[in-house]
Structures are given as structure tokens and as C-alpha cells.
Amino acid sequence: AQSVAQPEDQVNVAEGNPLTVKCTYSVSGNPYLFWYVQYPNRGLQFLLKYITGDNLVKGSYGFEAEFNKSQTSFHLKKPSALVSDSALYFCAVSHNQAGTALIFGKGTTLSVSS
């Protein structure tokens, strides 16, 4: 069965510092991996995805993520955090074909202090 783990409920970082939000996954075969962000009372906003190719994926708002097959991880990173990055972040996985359901992690709340 597919599963996603986000081991941290909350990540706190000071503005200007680098941030990492962790994600590990379990899926048979090669996965599609995604990061979404959710602001209060809003839907999910797509940040980036890994399908194939380069393990370092760049996405919206300066975020990037690194796919590590041996560690089954897909951690979200940003070199310099902004207060406006404070939100709820979800990692998701699906089988490597279009039209399959996303399995989400429980989410990590990122809090960036000024």
C-alpha cells in the first residue's frame, strides 16, 4: 500500500534562514511525488512535482525538492524563508500514471518568524 510520512507536525524557522520540510514515501514501482501548500481557509496550491529525470526539482515561489530514491525521500527546501511562506504543506504520492489518486501526508505547519 502507498503511504506518505511527514515526520514533523511543525517546523519553525527565522526569516532569511533556509528551511526544510521532510517527506518520506512508500509505493511500489516508480512514484510521482508532489508538494502542495495550503493557506488558511483556502484550497491546495500546487508547488512542484517529480515525475522523472533530474532529482532536484524547482517549483513555485523559490521552493525546490530533492528526490532520493535510496532513502525514499522527497524533502522540500528553500534557501531563504519568508514570513509569507508560513502555511500548511502537504507531500503527496501517486502511482506513475496519470489519473490515479493522490495519497497525502498529514501535513507540516511551517511557521516563519520575522
Binding site: 508532489f34 484550497g43 512535482k49 496519470a98 489519473g99 490515479t100 493522490l102
Partner: protein, 115 residues
Amino acid sequence: GAGVSQSPSNKVTEKGKDVELRCDPISGHTALYWYRQSLGQGLEFLIYFQGNSAPDKSGLPSDRFSAERTGGSVSTLTIQRTQQEDSAVYLCASSLGLAGGPTQYFGPGTRLTVL
């Protein structure tokens, strides 16, 4: 262009009543998904449509839940005889489906409160 839209944004109903939630996907997106977000269960998949067909209904929690999609566009999620545990945010997403990439784009959700 326009994103995924959902209506109503909020719905309060009494236990035992039926409710209908609507989703308008991004134009040209053949795949449509329903998810549910609740405090206790996180984000759960409910059902997936490709065109008007639903090849995956595995996430529907009970036979009180049903969904349809017409014209390869609008979808309606119906919950019959609502229960308090149905209270959640219902999210709709669409993607290019089999003809394109797997990225799902989400609507703002419908917050359902069952009293």
C-alpha cells in the same frame, strides 16, 4: 484562465438531510477527483472520474455517498442522510488526465457542517 471552482463555499445542514456539492473543473481537464479534508483523517481520496466514467470509487466511505459527472465537465457529490461525521471540507481537483500530465489542481473547497 479560470481555476477549479466549487459551490457552495459553505454548507450547514441538519443531520439526516441530503446535500449536493458542485465542482467545475478547469476547461479541457478530462480527469476530476473528489477528496475530503478533516481534522481527524487528514486528506482522503473519495472518487476519480475520467470523462463521465468513474474508474475508481474506492474512497467513498459508505453508500450514502455518490457522485456523477455530466458532459465531461461539472461534477456533483451527493451525500444522503448526512451524519455529523460527514462534517469536513470537500475538495475537488482536476487534471489533464490520461492525455496529459498528472498534476492535480484543486478548488477552494466546500466546508460542510452537519448539526
